[in-house]
Amino acid sequence: MTRAEVLLAYVAENHPRSVRGIEEARAVDPAAWDAVAEQFLGWAEGVWGPTGWQARCIDAFMRFSNDVIMSQARYEADGHYENSSFAECNEHVYSQRDVMDDYLWGVFITNFCWSHHMELSLFFRDRFLARLPGAPAIVEIAPGHGGWGVWALSNRPDARLQGFDISPSSIAIASSIAKAAGVSDRVTYTQRDALDLATMPAASADAVICSFLIEHLEDPGLLVANIANLMKPGARGYLAGAITAAQVDHIYLFKRESELVALCEAHGLRVTETLSVSPKRTLPKAKYLPRSMGLILERRDLREF
């Protein structure tokens, strides 16, 4: 059995409520799903061993998915996200090592087991990774589980990556995945607040990855300014964010795709491509459509009006 087949069998046996969602994710592009799932699960197996990854990663994914849908249901009822400050999220999530470890392994699996995130993974692969410049110096801001950056390094043997995340769990998990993928010698992860990156050398990155951090911030403009500052002329950026999509630690409520585009444009970036995706199923009588959005960025060097 392939690891993807093991995952499907494990879910059918232990989490029958989630079979439909994973079938929807595979239906996005079955051949691509098999390849992406095999890659991510191969890394998970490298970390947890041939019989350990199922319970650790898939169970975490089930808990995370349930948490997200519960948060969305509360958002539907209340009209606002549950938390509104970094301090609240830090208290309930970021400072809790066990909570964060489970959370990050759960998010890791969403990259191919949520249909809309599978669509975003293919967008990242085809519209960002496939078009990086030669020997790219990549900066990943808030790598979380690290899967996006490790994917870039696996895809591009000439690439190097620096990752910065405020969470010790992130540093540990991203490092373990990089080791499992055999790319440790080309990556450094440092525990550091993404909003303090303004002190880094300007125009030092050929590519910047920042996936699903922006909605976790009280001031997302500061993050986008840092991304723009890091990018060399001609560099490419990949930014992903959540729109009317609740999670226990989402605090900045983006309501429209144009808000993310305008924020990037206001900080000296050109948005060359976007993809906005949503789950195949929503809560009954939902008022809000939860979306995930990917943006391909370039630095705007010429004065434009």
Partner: protein, 79 residues
């Protein structure tokens, strides 16, 4: 009305099926519409019916209606 009887009413309402036979062993394996999204919809409906608020981590792993009934009883008792 027992907790199980009250839960049966909630399930019939959520899954829009008045003929649903609900026992302690009833699970997503017997109800095709009981997917991950409807599970949360069911939990929110149970919260309203019993005047409770679940912690998300308590309901993700529930295997069947019996486990849900036990959880409701624990919370009602202040556990």
């Amino acid at each position: 009305m027992t907790t199980l009887e009250k839960l049966a009413d909630v399930l019939c309402d959520v899954f829009e099926d008045d003929e649903l036979v609900v026992t302690r062993t009833t699970s997503a394996r017997e109800i095709a519409a009981w997917d991950s999204v409807m599970h949360v919809t069911l939990m929110i409906s149970v919260e309203r019916a019993f005047g409770l608020r679940f912690k998300s981590g308590n309901v993700a792993g529930l295997k069947n209606v019996g486990e849900l009934a036990d959880l409701v009883d624990r919370l009602k008792a202040g556990g």
